[in-house]
């Protein structure tokens, strides 16, 4: 009697399992696209660059770069030429003025 009951329960379980269908499913795939023609990259997020402006660093002078240093002699030559020319013009003017005064002396 007990054996029959066990077999009946087992058969019932088997039938339940076998008749229980998996859930219906259907699948599809679609496409997504974008053309990226350019990017603005974010600003760096590291430590801020120290302020090296002369206004905020009194008494501190920036070292000229090698390119500027190489051009310094040229700048000095220009200055020297200007000074010599100016000095020459001054001497000439004073000489002319002096000669004019000497002619006026009786």
């Amino acid at each position: 009697m007990i054996g029959r009951m066990i077999i009946s329960i087992f058969a019932l379980l088997l039938s339940f399992i076998s008749f229980r269908d998996p859930p219906l499913q259907a699948q599809q795939t679609s496409r997504v696209g974008i053309e990226i023609t350019g990017i603005h990259f974010p600003e760096p997020t590291g430590p801020s660059v120290p302020d090296s402006s002369i206004e905020n660093n009194p008494g501190y002078y920036l070292q000229p770069s090698a390119q500027i240093q190489s051009r310094l002699p040229q700048l000095n030559e220009v200055d020297r030429t200007a000074y010599v020319t100016g000095f020459g013009l001054l001497i000439s003017s004073m000489s002319l003025l002096l000669m004019k005064r000497l002619k006026e002396v009786p």
Partner: protein, 221 residues
Amino acid sequence: MMKKMNLGFVTLLALGTIGAVSAVAITDTNKVQAADDTGASQAGVEFTQQIDPLTITEVPSFHFGSQNVDNSKEMRYQTADSGAGSVTDPITTSKKIIVSDQRLGTNANGWHVQATLGDFTGITPTNKITTAKVALSNPGFTHTGSSTGVNLGGDGSTVEISSAVNTVLEADATMIGETTADFSTSADDVALVIPAGAVPDADTYEANIDWTLTAGPVATP
């Protein structure tokens, strides 16, 4: 197939009836009286479930045009009509999801649609966008009957399709027939959301969305 079988059965039944009537007519012509001219016949029909009673017949594709991305903040782009794809043919934007549920009686227990967005890959395969999302909102629903039994997933107002499994639509057992969700009511119903710093380089990118329609309500974890 079943429709053809049913049609054949009905045709046979009709032919049998015509034959019986003809026999009676011949009997009348020959003036031969049958001993008993009454009888009983049977007619039957068997309705069977379709082979694929629950199907997703249309899913949407999107192209978001040519964009100059600001990588310093999250960007949101609306769809264009079409554009180039990185893999095969051009991509034409379509904005409809159509589900057909032809199940019978108690077999109908509702359904839900879930979607997963893959990585965007450029023509240069090492260029990948992995954190973008497609946001869907404000769908217009149409149905052969009432469309009150279907809703947008998520919070009901917006669904973001990401690399995870995202529930897009949920329908109850009343939604037998064809249901359409159309995301073209306004231009912002579909948007591509790209987080800050997600784009590695300028390129033509393409990704797949995998859509899964499953019978029944969304399983609770």
